[in-house]
């Protein structure tokens, strides 16, 4: 099959993860992976982002497929159930708003900037080496740390299920994928449950 330019977007996804180790402010670029799928689903009513442009999916496909890092087993039934997918989306939302709240507190100068990346919503990993200072308000950096935590956490989860199940098993419960599919269903008046 002929490769198109968008078949190489995994390079961007990989670079994004690496850049976060050097300067946390690059984490803001991740908003592209947030707004592009939403805009495509709202405007066009398709999952064009998942289907074509998702660099993270491509990265998992490459590591699990070409590099053989996946057992290629079936994902358990409960993980593809609507209950789990919608539940995970809600959980992700709650955690995301908590992260926004923490950012707000720093902007409002009610809390100090915490130079940590929180993995799997639990483990606070010191990350001060990627913060170089005073150019922006500390709140800008707080959002970057929070957003990078979300991105790294989901990558770790995705890698974990990539190894256990099929390469792109992250796509089954990816909150963005679930959300864009819901938007498409609403737009096209399809049943949600």
């Amino acid at each position: 099959m002929k490769k198109r330019w968008y078949d190489y977007l995994w390079i961007l996804s990989l670079s994004y993860l690496i850049l976060g180790f050097f300067n946390i402010l690059f984490a803001w670029l991740g908003l592209f992976c947030f707004f592009t799928p939403l805009i495509i689903s709202v405007v066009k009513g398709t999952k064009g982002y998942c289907n074509r442009y998702c660099g993270r999916g491509q990265l998992f496909g490459l590591l699990g497929g070409r590099f053989g890092l996946s057992r290629k087993q079936d994902i358990p039934g409960w993980m593809k159930s609507k209950a789990f997918r919608y539940g995970f989306l809600i959980f992700f939302f709650v955690m995301f708003f908590q992260m926004l709240w923490n950012t707000y507190l720093v902007f409002a100068e009610a809390a100090e900037l915490k130079q940590v990346v929180t993995l799997l919503w639990t483990f606070r990993v010191p990350w001060q080496w990627a913060y170089h200072g005073e150019l922006f308000h500390p709140g800008v950096a707080q959002f970057a740390f929070g957003f990078y935590s979300v991105m790294l956490t989901s990558t770790i989860l995705g890698l974990f299920t990539m190894i256990l199940f099929k390469p792109r098993s992250w796509c089954v419960y990816c909150p963005m994928g679930t959300m864009t599919q819901l938007i498409c269903k609403v737009k096209n008046k399809e049943r949600l449950l």
Partner: protein, 70 residues
């Protein structure tokens, strides 16, 4: 002697569990699969040759190669 009839095997999607990720579209050598309005994968039964690549790729394992009675 009765003519032996062979029922062709083709890809069938369990639509209610499909996440519409599009992995199946990428691997299909016949361009027989498409994502319908971001909701589910749809297999063009006329184009499908039942090779099973999509079933193998599907991260949710919701595609089966089954005998397709017209």
């Amino acid at each position: 002697m009765a003519k032996a009839t062979r029922i062709p095997r083709k890809a069938q999607v369990m639509e209610s569990l499909c996440v519409a990720c599009g992995c199946c579209v990428k691997v299909c050598p016949m361009k027989a699969v498409s994502i319908y309005k971001g909701i589910k994968a749809v297999v063009d039964q006329k184009l499908c040759v039942g090779c099973g690549k999509c079933a193998k790729e599907c991260p949710a394992s919701v595609i089966e190669i089954r005998e397709a009675r017209p």
